[in-house]
């Protein structure tokens, strides 16, 4: 899952990025409103953590612009102003949730997980596909009840595919959502990780749809 963090305070930005990376997200960061708006407008993120008080352009304006331009990734607002009138203004502008500063990092992670899950159309905190079960809160995958040992990259790939269960996912989409913006898009690492995952999962679970990409299938 690829997440954008837009926060002008360098320390808080760093902490958020580190915590998100630790939770197996791929993170891009921006330090002002203009840069944040540009990244959100051009890159396909699974979620955005957006501060309201930003230099150059404030968070609410960025959010309104994104929504107007049809960018509908889930957005978690960070706000120092925690009055309900401020929160409702943020939600009305298109935010999906808010966290008031000063926050517990666990709260940001929990809310972000819920947003990503909801955006993919899953109501509960666990996604089950056949014998596979993804526990989003614990970042764990089990097969018939036993935990599968996955590397960070493998987990991200499988988690993304399970979030988008039944859908054909192109290599480009996977690259865009599993690597940050500096990643070399032409490399064939996706094929390598798909190959490794197939060895750890039952046969036929990851289908190759010729010319289009991959599909997770419980059939």
């Amino acid at each position: 899952m690829r997440v954008l963090v837009v926060e002008d305070d360098p320390d808080l930005n760093k902490q958020l990025c580190e915590a998100l990376e630790e939770a197996d997200y791929v993170v891009d960061k921006a330090f002002d409103g203009e840069e944040g708006h540009f990244l959100g407008d051009t890159e396909p993120y699974d979620a955005v953590v957006l501060d309201i008080g930003l230099p150059v352009k404030d968070g609410i304006s960025i959010l309104e612009d994104w929504r107007r331009e049809g960018r509908n990734m889930p957005v978690l607002l960070l706000t120092a102003r925690d009055r309900w009138s401020d929160k409702v203004q943020g939600i009305d502008a298109g935010a999906d949730d808010y966290v008031a500063k000063p926050f517990h990092m666990e709260e940001v992670l929990a809310r972000l997980r819920a947003l990503v899950r909801r955006a993919a159309g899953h109501a509960s905190n666990a996604i089950e596909i056949g014998p596979l079960r993804l526990d989003i809160g614990a970042s764990k995958v089990t097969l018939n009840g036993s935990a599968i040992k996955l590397t960070s990259h493998e987990y991200r790939l499988l988690s993304y595919m399970m979030h988008h269960n039944g859908k054909v996912i192109s290599r480009t989409e996977l690259t865009e959502h599993l690597y940050d913006q500096d990643f070399d898009r032409d490399s064939n690492t996706i094929e390598v990780f798909v190959g490794r995952l197939r060895k750890k999962l039952p046969d036929g679970l990851i289908e190759t749809v010729r010319g289009l990409g991959y599909k997770l299938s419980a059939e």
Binding site: D9, D11, W84, K87, D92, D96, K101, P102
Partner: protein, 447 residues
């Protein structure tokens, strides 16, 4: 501090003093004029009586032939104090008025003036004060002395009666004038009373500025007061903004420190976390105080309920997805405005709806009911509810029912304080078959 009398009292007392002095002087002057007139009148009576008597003396040579006509009837009445007497030049009586019977007329014992007259005021043997006038008369057939008296006490009694009646009449006039003065003072001071009442409303937070229409003399005072009030409000607002900005500005560094402490060694970070917790509480408290102070200034605004509730429900459905928020709207609610600033209404409803969303299993129900200038809003979740013994504690300051969830525990405190400030009330109940029910009763009006 010395006591200052009210303007009304000053005007009334000053007018009363002026009236007492003015009317007193009038009564005195009138009595004086009247007394003088009476005195002149008495002197005229004495003079004309003397002339009559002298006329009679001159008509006939012998005293026994004298006839006295056109005599004032008072000289007929026995012991009336009105006497006359004709004597020879040595004082032996030749004729007296009928009233003189048994009365010794006084001997003046003062010399006659160059017109052969003398005059004095004397008290007779009966104690009656008399004006006595005596004239010498020299004729061909003899010399005489003509003495005429007038009852001076009668004159004094007349003057006293006149004075008393004048005082009585002027007192009545004075009372009427004093009442008129009081009425004028009250009417003139009416606008000042209105201004005072309006200032009272501003002070009690029931009005924002002075609205009344005042006479031209007072209009500048009203404008100055309003300018002062708005400047004052602006200063307070700016100060509150500064406090708010300071508090909000501190929140980002606090967030950084908190997350940094989390990553450090457990023992080392425990103290840091405790101190951070304290700092966060202080920031939150002062932020709230600034907001409360802003609110306590003015409680006259009304906010339409339905748009506020619908907006909040939209936000809640998003935040607490997939929890369902069901609102049973009554017709009356559409036209209702709650006596609260819109930010405060958002805060009260937002906190309760958010709590309900956090604890609900699948749905939150909202019921609104209008009842005699009050709106009852019941927000009920289908969660596990709260045990009876914890219900009382629920709105205590900083009390949190579940220590495992995030939050400062201040949400319901804010709700309680804001609701009380608006003159409403909030109750927490836990019905058998549902979760927590929060019942708000808020003062409102129909648009």
């Amino acid at each position: 501090m010395t006591k200052r009398f009210s303007i009304f009292t000053r005007i009334f007392v000053a007018t009363a003093i002026c009236l007492v002095i003015g009317l007193g002087a009038t009564a005195w002057a009138l009595s004086l004029v009247y007394a003088r007139a009476l005195e002149r009148n008495i002197d005229n009576v004495i003079e004309s009586q003397s002339d009559q008597l002298i006329g009679s003396i001159l008509d006939e040579e012998e005293p026994e032939d004298w006839s006295f006509q056109n005599i004032d009837p008072r000289y007929q009445e026995l012991g009336s104090g009105w006497y006359w007497q004709i004597t020879d030049i040595n004082g032996s009586p030749l004729a007296t008025s009928p009233s003189t019977f048994g009365v010794d007329l006084p001997d003046l014992k003062i010399p006659f003036d160059d017109q052969n007259r003398r005059r004095a005021d004397l008290r007779d043997a009966d104690g009656i004060l008399q004006r006595v006038s005596e004239r010498k008369l020299f004729t061909q057939h003899g010399d005489y002395r003509v003495l005429v008296t007038a009852n001076w006490d009668e004159l004094n009694a007349d003057v006293a009666l006149f004075r008393n009646q004048t005082i009585l009449a002027l007192t009545a006039v004075g009372i009427v004038l004093a009442l008129l003065a009081a009425l004028i003072a009250r009417v003139s001071l009416g606008p000042m009373k209105e201004l005072r009442d309006e200032i009272g409303l501003v002070k009690d937070g029931k009005a924002e500025q002075i609205e009344g229409v005042y006479p031209p003399e007072m209009a500048p005072v009203k404008d100055e007061l309003n300018a002062l009030l708005s400047t004052n409000r602006e200063i307070v607002r700016q100060a509150q903004n500064h406090v708010g900005n300071l508090a909000h500005g501190l929140k980002t560094p606090l967030a950084v420190l908190r997350n940094e402490a989390r990553a450090k060694d457990e023992i080392e970070s425990k103290m840091v976390r405790t101190q951070l917790q304290r700092m966060e509480e202080i920031v939150q408290r002062y932020l709230q105080r600034a907001q409360m102070a802003a609110r306590s200034q003015i409680q006259t605004t009304h906010t339409p309920l339905v748009p506020a509730l619908e907006r909040l429900l939209g936000a809640m459905r998003k935040i607490h997805h997939p929890i369902q928020y069901h609102w049973r709207n009554t017709d009356a609610a559409d036209a209702l405005s709650v006596r609260m600033d819109s930010g405060d209404l958002d805060e009260v409803l937002g906190n309760i709806l958010d709590n309900a969303g956090k604890w609900a299993k699948s749905q939150v129900s909202i019921k609104t009911e209008y009842n005699h200038n009050q709106i009852e809003i019941t927000i009920c979740d289908d969660g596990e509810g709260v045990p009876q013994q914890k219900l009382k504690k629920i709105a205590e300051r900083g009390h949190r029912l579940d220590e495992n969830t995030h939050g400062s525990g201040l949400g319901l405190d804010i709700v309680k304080e804001l609701v009380q400030l608006s003159g409403g009330r909030v109750n927490f109940e836990c019905p058998q078959d549902s979760g927590l029910a929060v019942c708000l009763t808020l003062p409102c009006r129909k648009r």
